[in-house]
Amino acid sequence: MNNIIENKTEVSTEPLKVPRRIAIFPKETPVKFQKEIIEEKLVQSFPNLIIREVICFQLVVIVVTFISLFVDAPLEELANPMNTPNPAKAPWYFLGLQELLHSFPPLVAGVLIPILVVIALIIIPYFDINIKRYGLWAKDRTRTLIYLSFSFTIVSIISILYKAYGIFFPSLIIYLMMLVPFFVPHRKGIIGWFYKMSLSEWIVGWFIFMAVVLTIIGTFFRGPGWGWVLPW
């Protein structure tokens, strides 16, 4: 606050002589991220947006109808608590978690990880420090490399220790992809795209990639005793 212009209070009835101050500006304006406001072309919602909604609705109905005409919902025999199928599988969207359950203790895979994922998703907008999304390698490349490799080593050690290769290999692939712009000076095409990606974008990309890989493994590559099988 010491860079605020010193303010003397003068009282006078002559407004031309002593003008009243209505605001005090610091000598330097604080550096703040100001979103650029660009004038954009506006169109009428009716019919431009409404027609798109109607067509979208029709297409959704048509697609669901077509799937429903040709693929029947599964129905097995009546539930029997005495007869456990091998393997018993959760709905497909939870098979990534069930795959983790195979490697980690249930408290970690079934309780801790889902809760942490939901918390992480919720706090994303509140912990977005890098709001302009500078690329991962934009500044202090050596330090970034050290932190990144350290994090990857910890993930690798944990996942290999627990034989969670479904975590290790996707992480390795993402780690190698992150390293490409560090070693290759090329800044165009896919490498340029990698160069521009920020840390948060990499982390979410890693999460999505792992979720997809684990779900695919759980759905297609797990058979009796949760052993590895091929789907063909």
Partner: protein, 229 residues
């Protein structure tokens, strides 16, 4: 078309020629007034949002309609629930088609809601002032999964019974409150008649109600935070 009856039902007068008329179409309609009168041309392009939120919402509408129809043929009891599935397949006209619509729309909704979240993240559309609407969106994703999961038990065949067993067994690992929570959800120590009733009530009443309220709030916040405008 341009009759006294038409005018009494629809507050917008035909023909619609000017931009004022087009604005009044939005203003004067209960279902449309959630839209702004004008939108950014860029914001309504398919390549901008892939319409994933819209698609999720329409799938939810399909799920409500087919779900209510399925309720007409469903009893949450053992073994009636399973027999109802057989009846849908062999006795009810288009019963299997109805069940297919409900099931595939549900699976597609899980996918579209997830993709919607990814799209919003990479577009940075959660940034201020939209932080809280992102949080509501995360809750809506969790609700979608819970709705899908509670519905999974209702046919009460081997597939649903054991899929739900896998999930429910995890609840008991929650420290301290695990056992009690499991009992609360199952209405007993293992999956039985009361589990079916509880999942039925969650699936058909409680979760959809919360979902509808939060969707309304989600849409309202899009408007207030300056979504399309």
């Amino acid at each position: 078309m341009h009759s006294k009856v038409w005018d009494s039902i629809f507050r917008s007068k035909l023909p619609i020629n000017t931009n004022l008329d087009r604005s009044l179409v939005i203003f004067n309609s209960l279902t449309l007034h959630i839209h702004p009168v004008k939108v950014r041309e860029k914001a309504i392009k398919f390549s901008y949002t892939f319409y994933l939120g819209m698609i999720s919402f329409f799938l939810f509408i399909i799920l409500i309609v087919t779900g209510v129809l399925l309720m007409l043929y469903y009893q949450p009891a053992i073994p009636n629930a399973y027999e109802n599935m057989k009846d849908l397949q062999y006795v009810v006209s288009n019963g299997m088609f109805l069940r297919n619509l409900h099931r595939w729309a549900a699976h597609l909704m899980v996918i579209s809601v997830f993709l919607h979240m990814i799209r919003v993240f990479y577009a940075g559309a959660y940034k201020p002032p939209r932080e809280f609407n992102w949080v509501v969106g995360v809750v809506l994703l969790v609700l979608t999964l819970l709705l899908s999961y509670t519905g999974y038990l209702l046919p009460f065949d081997q597939l649903s019974y054991w899929a739900v067993t896998v999930g429910v067994n995890l609840i008991q690992y929650i420290p301290v409150i695990g056992e009690k929570t499991k009992f609360l959800f199952l209405g007993g120590h293992e999956i039985g008649e009361y589990t079916l009733v509880r999942f039925y009530v969650l699936h058909c009443v409680i979760l959809p109600l919360v979902m509808v309220l939060l969707i309304a709030f989600h849409f309202w916040r899009i408007r207030k935070d300056g979504g399309l405008h």
